[in-house]
């Protein structure tokens, strides 16, 4: 089997596995930041998967900086999450780009009520052209919760395909990894979403 076929097979397996495994899903950093576009002035997005649904907004500050906010509702565990991210394009070639992300998540958990807050950072490689990109990234965060021993350290691998046709953008994004908690067993996490966006290009 060629290396390319092996890589594609692996990537497809991870994405499908994520979809199947989504009952244990949680996403810690923004889906919009994971599919950020620096060539648009604004993006409005809806996303959803077996684990969560949500909506968000991205606005671009310059050719190398963008901001994104999004709200998500976790379907199975019934809690809300608000995420804000700042994305920087660190380097760009004709077929590849490197970006960094930093932001924070806010959790609102009903029954018994709990709230969580925490920063996260990410580094991602984007391969391709605006109409079709592959995304590969690493993300790490710290979540602090009001109740109980409150520290959680989410670690994620991001895999995805994104693209755009005119003002319409799309993305199939998956995130797999684990939550580490000091003194406790790690918890495997996975989630996949389909993202659809409407992009405003130019002033």
């Amino acid at each position: 089997m060629s290396a390319r076929r092996w890589v594609w097979g692996w990537a497809v397996s991870v994405v499908l596995g994520s979809l199947g495994w989504a009952s244990a899903a949680r996403a810690e950093t923004g889906w919009l930041a994971s599919s950020v576009r620096f060539d648009v002035t604004q993006r409005y997005a809806l996303f959803g998967g077996p684990g969560s649904v949500g909506a968000g907004l991205q606005w671009t500050a310059s050719a190398r900086r963008a901001f994104a906010v999004e709200a998500a509702w976790n379907l199975r565990s019934r809690f809300a999450e608000l995420r804000g991210d700042h994305a920087w394009q660190l380097a760009r070639g004709s077929w590849a780009a490197l970006r960094a992300e930093g932001g924070a998540s806010l959790y609102a958990v009903p029954g018994p009520w709990d709230v969580g807050l925490g920063p996260h950072v990410g580094l991602a490689l984007q391969l391709g052209r605006p109409w079709l990109n592959a995304q590969l990234g690493l993300q790490s965060g710290v979540d602090l919760f009001a109740r109980g021993p409150g520290l959680r350290l989410p670690q994620r691998l991001l895999l995805g395909l994104t693209g755009a046709v005119g003002p319409l953008g799309w993305g199939l994004l998956a995130r797999v990894g684990a939550d580490l908690e000091p003194g406790r067993a790690f918890v495997a996490r996975a989630e996949a979403v389909l993202l659809l966006s409407w992009d405003r290009i130019g002033g």
């Binding site: 244990a24 809690f79 009520w113 109980g148 918890v187």
Partner: protein, 285 residues
């Protein structure tokens, strides 16, 4: 002002709609035993479903009793649905125990050990007004688990300071051996002599790691999956039991009730009661 009140009402509605389920009655499974589904939180954000079987009256409400009774948290075996252990929970509920069986993603408890702790906490402090409110004595709760669930049950018993431990066709994780050797609560290791998955040598070695007071009970003619509701997997792989399923269930149930009744009353492992089990080799330390 109107806006604030509206906001509060929306928040109240969201809180009520999204809060975990806390039933006041269950569905009657058989005379004297009902089942209800609770939801509780683990790992801050995860909602964990817990099947609870309990002694009930004809309307599915908890049977009236003077004081809070004993409880058991049961952990499912690897890739075996919780429903396949309902027969065990029914036997225990009929004997007066309240049994909580937490569910796990992909039926793999090993990756969500906190679900067992969440179920233990649910029994210890049942939601106010629910059928668990004040029903279980927080100091009389045992952990039990089958196969891989036994490995997890031992971890939860250690982390949650349970009152007793039952390993069914199972043995502890090597990582827990040191802590288990210092754990002074009563334990029971229940094994099938014809088990082809958790072989007798393994369960025997595992039982030897448990500190006194402990009992190792080997049930003659019993296979691995006879601890569940069907022996299909055993038969398919040519691991044939010598005891009919109903008889195996009767002996497993009798061993569980004998041990748990004594251990959760602080009366050790009831060596005499276990010795009276038919077709069983019993070693008590």
């Amino acid at each position: 002002m109107g806006l604030e009140r509206g906001g509060c009402l929306v928040l109240l509605w969201l809180g009520a709609a999204c809060a975990p389920a806390a039933p006041v009655r269950g569905e009657l499974l058989s005379p004297g035993v009902a089942q209800a589904t609770f939801e509780t939180r683990a790992r801050h954000t995860d909602l964990v479903r817990v099947q609870v079987l309990f002694p009930a009256d004809d309307s599915g409400r908890p049977a009236v009793a003077g004081t809070a009774g004993p409880g058991v948290v049961f952990i499912q075996g690897g890739a075996v649905p919780v429903a396949r252990y309902r027969w065990q929970a029914e036997v225990l509920a009929r004997a007066g125990f309240t049994v909580a069986m937490p569910e796990h993603a992909l039926n793999l408890a090993f990756f969500e050990i906190e679900n067992g702790l969440a179920a233990l906490e649910l029994l210890r402090s049942g939601p106010k007004g629910s059928l668990l409110d004040g029903r279980v004595d927080p100091d009389s709760i045992a952990l039990a688990g089958h196969s891989l669930g036994g490995v997890v049950a031992a971890k939860v018993a250690l982390a949650g300071d349970a009152a007793a431990l039952v390993l069914e066709a199972s043995y502890p994780d090597g990582a827990d051996v040191q802590r288990l050797s210092r754990w002074e609560r009563p334990s029971l290791s229940l094994a099938g002599r014809l088990d082809c998955s958790a072989k007798l040598e393994q369960t025997s070695e595992g039982a030897a790691l448990l500190r006194s007071p402990t009992a190792f009970v080997v049930l003659d003619g019993v296979t691995h999956y006879q601890f569940t509701d069907s022996q299909r997997e055993d038969v398919e792989r040519g691991c044939l039991p010598e005891l009919p399923l109903e008889e195996a269930h009767a002996r497993v149930g009798q061993a569980l009730v004998t041990f748990l009744s004594a251990s959760l009353r602080g009366e050790g492992v009831d060596a005499e009661g276990l010795d009276a089990l038919p077709g069983a080799e019993v070693t008590v330390r």
